[in-house]
């Protein structure tokens, strides 16, 4: 492990702009900020904690003057290595920018700083009858700025859509240090949808310093059903049949038997531990539509072999079901100390086939696999569970993960549904995109960041630009 040292002049400039306490170069901070929620480690040389747009701008300008790359980071819960600093980058941490700036209920819009935590925003809005719709499983700790960078999803994105549909505008420090507002409070700002490409830009197109989010009206009625099946195929067929029937549930989640058993032992949510698969189906809206939907989901489930269709009797039971779903990752820690969470999307109609391949791949690599995922979106989340102290296990985990991604793409799916590409899947991009496709994406990146200092070497594999022959040392930091 080598340690990069930040140029002393850079550190001095940052301290002048941000104050001593907000610029750290100690071993503790550098170690803490060298990784995110993924298993990938990088190298940082200095960590800055700006509190205003101008301070973020000062960080970017100082980094540019010294030719040091910079990486924006929110809570660091990302799972694809998007916030992992490479080559001694300056890490610009936005967690101290955590104010809700304004709320407008006539427009159902709010301006927030990027460090506001996802769940805090909805808690803040609770008395206003609205909420912020994207709800990634990390919502208690992930930031809205990070959600914007990764175009985050969550169970309720089935009916409400992912982050891009809930971000109207962003004030951004562009990679050249200038400040621009992309998008707007108004519905059709003149020009290109720069907001749309910025969301999901993984910190390579600039750093959001204020974000205008769309607020979603709370549904008057919410009903949550739990269905269980003796065969995974029946659960998956139920998912397709529900969507094909014209229902769009608020959420439609599946858990397989290993996950269900782990969760049940952990939170006692009343999940049937002998089922091959359980489905959590949530319907929301006006009462007649919801009641008709509940009826229809029950019929479809029973027609596809559901053993039991349980309607949560009250809010407490509903909360317990969701607690079971959202604490799945904690429950898994009781089985093995480490897990690797994957994220691919496949057409719903191919869920069964891809799931059976996932089980087969894990078995071949002698790994435990558990599946808890957004079935309604076809968004798979295979969890490979392991103990990293076991010699050679990481190689098997990576090999299995690679195969799972390839199988998903071959089935007509995509590389990632909500985690992003980052470093994790960067070199798999050619599975989905041709050289011409990648060249177009590289052109966009170059238009935003001609010098390539904003979170370099993420998303786009080396050679994405037509005629670009330089090689990044693959795996050097992994």
């Amino acid at each position: 492990m080598t340690t990069e040292v930040a140029p002393a002049a850079l550190v001095d400039e940052l301290r002048t702009a941000l104050g001593r306490a907000h610029v750290r170069t100690g071993a503790t901070e550098l170690n803490l900020y060298r990784r995110d929620g993924s298993n990938i480690e990088g190298r940082s040389s200095v960590v800055a904690f700006p509190t205003t747009t101008e301070e973020v701008q000062a960080c970017v300008l100082a980094a540019r003057r010294h030719g040091v790359p910079f990486v924006a980071r929110g809570s660091g819960t990302g799972l694809a290595g998007g916030a992992v600093p490479l080559d001694g980058a300056l890490v610009i941490v936005t967690t101290k920018m955590n104010r809700v700036l304004s709320i407008d209920l006539d427009a159902r819009q709010a301006w927030v700083e990027p460090g506001v935590l996802n769940a805090d925003l909805s808690r803040f809005l609770a008395s206003d009858g609205v909420h912020y719709a994207p709800d990634p499983s990390s919502q208690q700790s992930c930031s809205v700025g990070g959600n914007v960078a990764t175009n985050a999803g969550g169970p309720h994105c089935l009916s409400e859509g992912v982050t891009a549909m809930h971000v109207l505008a962003a004030e951004v420090v562009l990679p050249d240090g200038s400040i621009a507002v992309l998008g707007g409070e108004d519905p059709e700002p003149a020009g290109l949808d720069l907001r749309g490409v910025f969301v999901g830009g993984e910190g390579m197109l600039g750093i959001a310093t204020r974000i205008c989010v769309r607020l979603t009206q709370n549904p008057p009625v919410v009903r949550t059903l739990l269905l269980d099946f003796e065969r995974v195929e029946d659960g998956a067929a139920t998912v397709s049949a529900i969507i094909a029937s014209g229902l769009v549930p608020a959420a439609l989640e599946m858990m397989d038997a290993p996950v269900t058993r782990a969760v049940e032992a952990y939170v006692h949510a009343g999940f049937p531990t002998d089922a091959a698969a359980i489905l959590i189906v949530e319907l929301d809206g006006l009462p007649a539509a919801v009641e008709a939907g509940v009826e229809r989901v029950g019929e479809i489930g029973r027609a596809h072999g559901a053993r039991q269709v349980r309607l949560a009797a009250d809010e407490a039971e509903r909360a317990l079901i969701w607690k079971g779903r959202k604490t799945a990752f904690g429950a898994i820690a009781r089985i093995k100390p480490n897990y690797y969470l994957h994220d691919t999307v496949v057409p719903r109609a191919r869920l069964v086939e891809v799931l059976s391949r996932v089980y087969e791949i894990a078995a071949r690599h002698e790994l435990i696999v558990m599946n808890v995922f957004h079935a309604g979106d076809g968004n798979l989340h295979p969890l490979l569970v392991f103990d990293k102290r076991e010699p050679g296990v990481m190689e098997r985990v990576h090999a299995a993960g690679d195969e799972i991604v390839r199988v998903s793409v071959a089935a007509g799916g995509v590389l990632s549904g909500e985690h992003g590409i980052g470093l994790e899947k960067r070199d798999l991009m050619p599975l989905l995109f041709s050289p011409v496709d990648l060249d177009l994406q590289a052109r966009l990146r170059d238009a935003f960041d001609p010098d390539g200092l904003a979170n370099p070497d993420k998303v786009l594999p080396a050679g994405s630009r037509c005629g670009d022959l330089q090689q990044v040392p693959a795996g050097a930091w992994i």
Binding site: V162, E188, G196, G201, V414
Partner: protein, 298 residues
Amino acid sequence: MDLSNSVDLSSFAAEVGADDPVTCVGARCLWHVGGDVHPGAREVSAPAGIDWIAPEEMTVSCGAGTTVAELDAALAEEGQQVALPAWGTVGGVLAVGRSDHRRLGYGPVRDTLLQAGVVTAGGEVAKVGGPTVKNVSGFDLARLLVGSVGTLAFLGDVILRTRPRPQAAAWFRAAEGTDPFALFRALYRPTSLLWDGTTTWARLEGHPIDLDGAVALHGLEAVEDPPPLPPYRLSMPPAALRGLDGRFVAEIGVGLVHLDEPAEAAPQSEEVLALHRRIKEAFDPAGRLNPGRDPLSR
């Protein structure tokens, strides 16, 4: 069913070529949006026709030259619809990027496009986006192309997100003196809420019993049609609609105002203009795609 784009774009790409100024023609319904194309630009058209409809995926694939009306009729047979205005071709309405009166309930046009096969300024076929409703694989160039008035690449074929058709749908008029903003807060997700300064109209969709409930609760009266929308549009922050006067029809909760006279759009900052120049330079350095058109004057 193979849910990839399977329209062969090679002949469209050959037609677009790589050298001379070209313009992509749909149904010419919104032909002047973004400015007129220089005379002499060679006209090309994207392929038409529906490739497949997958109601269980809530997606459809078609050539960009397909008319929205044809697409909507085919989707209706599957109980689905697409949130595009029925103003011409699929490629045309995506390139223009304007939403119709259903934007409050259905969202902006840009959220409808999942994947596109495009022809670049270099005459090559490329893919942007991905075929699934949820996808964060790489930069979201599909959104960049919506509203780009054909200045970055030409849409050849598309995969669109569909949504179920409602069981019941109708227009209603609110009682005289109703505050449209109060109605906006009270109604649960209307598809449209129009206000002309005096009268408020709502389009409600959903279960018939829920519609009856809303009518009774909010004193709504069923009407045949919404008010005609004046021809020009202005985009405003929805909170600013309260201050409107004169003759207008405004989309409450959205911020679109329909006017009899053209209105000046809010100017963009120098930083945003610079990004536009760099993106155009990166995608179409010779300026051969729809020369004369500018998304900033859309």
